[in-house]
């Protein structure tokens, strides 16, 4: 049975994504109550198996990816290089956040197998609002870009 313990893990999600974004791309995060669907929204997911298993989900706009890629590459978000690297930067954000989060949640001797990050376009706004309606999406503001993160665990 799939369960969402997002509220329980919300603090860890905020801590993890903050730590990763600050170190990786010099981007600062803060929790937000904003819910307006961002433009060019993407859904990134990674699943994991181990003492806990489930999926880490990240809803993020393409523009956040461009900001990250720009910062990582030493250029601006508007640079075509940053635009081209946007999805890759978001996948890497999820990859690093997943590893960091699992180490925070599991015992030191836990062993996990993690998937490669997957990315899909969210073309239906209802998918975003349904996710918010479930009440278990942690909403974050990354320097004006809205993102939502959720940890779903099985069992």
């Amino acid at each position: 049975m799939l369960s969402t313990q997002n509220n329980t893990h919300s603090a860890k999600l905020v801590e993890t994504f903050s730590e990763v974004l600050e170190t990786m791309a010099f981007v600062w995060l803060q929790p937000t109550e904003e819910i307006m669907v961002p433009e060019n929204l993407l859904l990134l997911t990674m699943d994991f198996q181990g003492p806990i298993h489930g999926e880490l989900q990240l809803f993020a706009p393409q523009s956040l990816g461009a900001l990250l890629a720009g910062n990582m590459l030493g250029t601006t978000a508007e640079d075509p290089l940053a635009e081209a690297g946007a999805r890759d930067a978001l996948k890497e954000l999820l990859n690093i956040a997943c590893g960091t989060l699992l180490r925070k949640l599991a015992p030191a001797d836990a062993r996990f197998h993690v998937s490669l990050p997957k990315v899909t376009e969210v073309s239906d706004r209802e998918q975003w609002y349904a996710a918010i309606g479930r009440g278990d999406l942690t909403m974050l503001d990354a320097e004006g870009r809205l993102l939502g993160v959720r940890l779903e665990t099985l069992g």
Partner: protein, 128 residues
Amino acid sequence: MAFNILIVDDSGTTRAIIKRAVMLSGMPIDKITEAGDGSAALTQLATRSADLVFADLNMPVMDGLQMIGRMSTDPKTSSIPVVVISADPNADQAALLNDLGVRGYLRKPFTPEAIRTILNEVLGGVSA
């Protein structure tokens, strides 16, 4: 006197960050090449050696562990030092990699200073 570095990671942006950090490290660098997975890296190493390989673990086609295993059994590549840079959640991974002869382990997210430190540790006393 300058080193050839191979960066193996399926993330192009991460390869770019590592490349920048290597170039800014102060080490004498001749060439930096890149590969998106373990198989592409081994193909490169078959024709052009490297003085150090930075390797991610979780990659498509061939992952980092498989690549490191293949390198260790090939006389052409077994002596090339490998530094793993990974988001892998397994806390004991560093110890396991040490048993495979990996010379360093950096956890993502990493700082450019960490790259500089590990380069100095692994290549600092070596003449290319």
